[in-house]
């Protein structure tokens, strides 16, 4: 097991290194000279341009630029925002808790929808509840997140007037208001992965229900409810939870549009604003952080899987 863990950790390093090269390379796609953008009003002054280039090491060869950039990134320095004149890392740390709250709520909502529906459809395999649940899941996957958000605002906020259409109140300020401002976006965000969780749960439950221990439990004369919920579901949840951890990465991507629609000042709004403002270091920084989080989540999922599944420990 330790050998496996080491090897798995060893895989993370090259992946992150390649990612850093790719994210650094993004800069090279940019049309035009970054120094020109940064100089703003003074773009006609060759001295200013030369100074900016020297400060950012833009006059050095690419491998050296990359090495310097990577060195700084490894020290937690993601560069300076061109617009807001603040370190990118600070900006990200400011916004991350908002998105984590949203993502956490979305994940809970997704589990509350996806897992029971998955169990239902596995228990009634091939019959109408199964067909219905699958149709709902397919519809969920096919609905663009941002459109669902707009439709919910239209229904819940504009027509019914139940919840505020946009804005955000921090949890520390007023927990109740905070919940009111985030429940709708969290539902929208959770929708996308609840369908995925449902499919995973269905497959895992079908597998578990076909196992010998389930047959034994039934043969003992246990009630069907106990067999399904206690014997089958507990075992089926193992792959679901680990796959769910990977889906958390997808939440970060979904947050981009969801936060935009509900004007929630989180991580997603940060990257969108940065895109509009051509604030490239922020875009790079956000992509880097998201990539690192996703890679680590995948690692965490693998370790979790190993921990809850004793049979793999000796493999």
């Amino acid at each position: 097991m330790w050998f496996w863990l080491l090897r798995r950790l060893g895989q993370v390093v090259p992946t992150l290194l390649i990612l850093s090269v790719l994210i650094f390379a993004l800069q090279q796609l940019m049309p035009g000279d970054p120094a020109l953008i940064l100089a703003g009003e003074e773009r006609g002054d060759p001295q200013v341009l030369a100074q900016i280039r020297a400060e950012l090491f833009l006059d050095r060869p690419l491998p050296e630029q990359y090495a310097r950039w990577l060195w700084r990134v490894l020290h937690g320095d993601l560069g300076f925002s061109w617009r807001i004149r603040e370190p990118v890392a600070t900006l990200i740390l400011q916004k991350l808790p908002v998105t984590l709250q949203l993502g956490g709520m979305a994940f809970v909502i997704a589990c509350c929808i996806g897992i029971p529906l998955g169990v239902l459809s596995a228990v009634y395999q091939g019959r109408w509840p199964d067909v219905l649940v699958n149709a709902v899941a397919l519809a969920g996957i096919s609905t663009p997140n941002f459109w669902l958000g707009i439709m919910l605002i239209l229904l819940v906020s504009v027509h019914l007037g139940w919840l505020p259409p946009s804005g955000y109140v921090p949890l520390s300020e007023d927990p109740w208001q905070s919940l009111a401002t985030t429940i709708m976006p969290a539902f929208v965000l959770g929708n996308a992965i609840s369908a995925v969780l449902m499919r995973h749960t269905r497959a895992a439950m079908l597998n578990a229900l076909g196992q010998d221990y389930v047959r034994t439990a039934r043969a003992k004369g246990l009630r069907e409810r106990v067999v399904v919920l206690k014997h089958a579901l507990r075992n089926a949840l193992v792959p679901v939870v680990t796959l769910g951890a990977i889906e958390l990465g997808r939440l970060l991507a979904g947050a981009v549009l969801t936060e935009q629609i509900f004007t929630i000042p989180g991580f997603g709004k940060l990257i969108v604003d940065a895109v509009f403002n051509r604030d490239y270091p922020v875009v790079q920084g956000v992509v880097m952080v998201v990539a690192v989080i996703t890679v680590l989540l995948a690692l965490l999922a693998d370790i979790l899987y190993l921990l809850v599944n004793p049979r793999l420990r000796h493999a």
């Binding site: 397919l138 549009l257 996703t294």
Partner: protein, 283 residues
């Protein structure tokens, strides 16, 4: 009983799948709408009118009008062009990048395989939409750039799939026989491996188109895709958001269009998978 060709059997399987056929019909309708947009659209999608600003749906304007008095039905019909083109072009491009690289990785092995699969894995580690947004942002806002960004983002899936299939195919007896007959590796890839991996690639391509259409709509919603005044479902939703209380119809129809076309591609993809997968064969 006479033997049925695999193609005909797959076709028969596919058409037994009622939902998949429904999906195919919907896709066909959208393709027709995109191709014959000038004939079908009741109005010019770009023609503004100050007397018709934000009019509710009526007999003259079935889907209502937008903030510039343009007919929404006409814009939804023309918007199919941007969406379908983005979906098909981006995925074709992704296949053209991903499949050769995947075949190369699978058949050549060695450092080429390590490098290619590492890069593909690293790209897959970034959530789809975030990578697409970042690429589109750096390339600059334009529909062509959005398509390119989506294509690059979608390509690692094709690398992984075709590499896996090539590895599997390489170890089969018929590939061994072809190699023993002295076929060069490129011939092995093109003539022997590629035709065998086309079915799973078709399934993946269909599902990728659905994903690419959502991505294009998302990028256009953020202003990174189709540029105004040209219609795109994503950018229509963007302007609709500002008039949600006064003109909700602006937000409904483009979204329904995205939902329907994405659902249709997903249904076709699922149907294809069932029809082409030899393991799920029913007589």
């Amino acid at each position: 009983m006479s033997a049925e060709s695999p193609f005909r059997r797959a076709l028969r399987q596919f058409f037994r799948h009622r939902l998949a056929v429904f999906g195919l019909v919907v896709v066909a309708l959208f393709v027709l709408a995109a191709v014959f947009a000038p004939l079908l659209a009741p109005y010019d999608p770009l023609k503004t009118s100050w007397t018709l600003v934000r009019k509710a749906p009526s007999a003259a304007h079935w889907f209502g009008t937008d903030e510039n008095g343009r007919d929404i039905l006409a814009r939804v019909i023309y918007g199919a062009r941007a969406s379908l083109m983005a979906g098909v072009v981006a995925v074709t491009l992704a296949g053209c990048i991903g499949i050769p690289l995947g075949l190369l990785a699978g058949l050549a092995g060695g450092w080429a395989e390590t490098l290619i699969s590492r890069v593909a894995d690293a790209m897959l580690a970034v959530p789809f939409l975030i990578l697409a947004i970042a690429l589109a942002a750096f390339l600059g806002p334009a529909l062509e750039n959005a398509m390119l960004a989506i294509a690059i983002t979608a390509s690692p899936v094709f690398v992984r799939l075709s590499r896996g299939m090539a590895l599997e195919a390489k170890s089969t007896d018929w590939a061994e026989a072809a190699r023993a007959l002295g076929n060069p590796p490129w011939r092995l890839a093109l003539v022997h491996v590629l035709p065998n991996i086309i079915p799973p690639l078709m399934v993946q391509a269909t599902l990728s188109i659905a994903e690419a259409i959502i991505a294009e709509a998302s990028l256009s919603f953020l202003g990174l895709g189709q540029q105004p005044p040209n219609p795109s479902w994503g950018s229509m939703l963007n302007s609709a958001q500002r008039f949600l209380t006064q003109a909700p119809w602006m937000a409904i129809y483009p979204g329904v269009a995205i939902f329907l076309v994405v659902l249709a591609f997903n249904l076709v993809g699922d149907g294809l998978r069932d029809a082409l997968d030899p393991r799920s064969q029913k007589r």
